[in-house]
Symmetry: C2
């Protein structure tokens, strides 16, 4: 990694909408979760260079484990069920640097 | 970072389409570049777990420096002009692990 990362935590939400039999994150509340995270990080004044970026992403190709997010540069992957899970990831990992073991995949 | 990253190189192309005065990656050939990279990585049999993932992303918020991509977990950011630049990033960085200094931002 280069000296200091541009974002301390760069979070990518898979928002992929997939047709057919393979599951997809979009059908499991991914968009609402991403919007919730982005809004909350902004309200906490944590967004921006040197801090946190909440990003939309296309298919991260872990569909069967979804909905999924990945946090870089740590490379930690999570699944989640609802906004409470997202809040726990924000409060524990993004704010306090302590990954949420129970949500890791 | 967790032990072994799920993807050795996870590449995010900003494909954001923006209206108004701020520049955007979509207006600078980002979609064609992403498709080119994805196709080439697949042809080289480099795509998949433990290898390379070429991803679409929403706005990475470095619009004025665009078009941009970021490669994780290294956290290396690039800009590019054409497919030759993309090929150089693929051949040097993604295949041989040697970042392309002249394209870094």
């Amino acid at each position: 990694m280069d000296d200091k990362p541009y974002y301390r935590h760069h979070v990518f939400f898979c928002l992929n909408q997939r047709e057919g039999e393979r599951p997809c994150c979009a059908a499991r509340g991914a968009q609402a979760a991403q919007e919730h995270a982005k809004k909350r990080i902004k309200e906490m004044n944590l967004s921006g260079q040197g801090k946190v970026r909440i990003n939309k992403a296309g298919c991260l190709d872990r569909c069967e484990e979804g909905p999924v997010i990945v946090v870089y540069p740590e490379g930690i992957w999570y699944t989640y069920v609802d906004k409470d899970d997202i809040d726990e990831i924000i409060d524990s990992h993004l704010v306090n640097g302590k990954p949420v073991e129970r949500l890791k995949i």
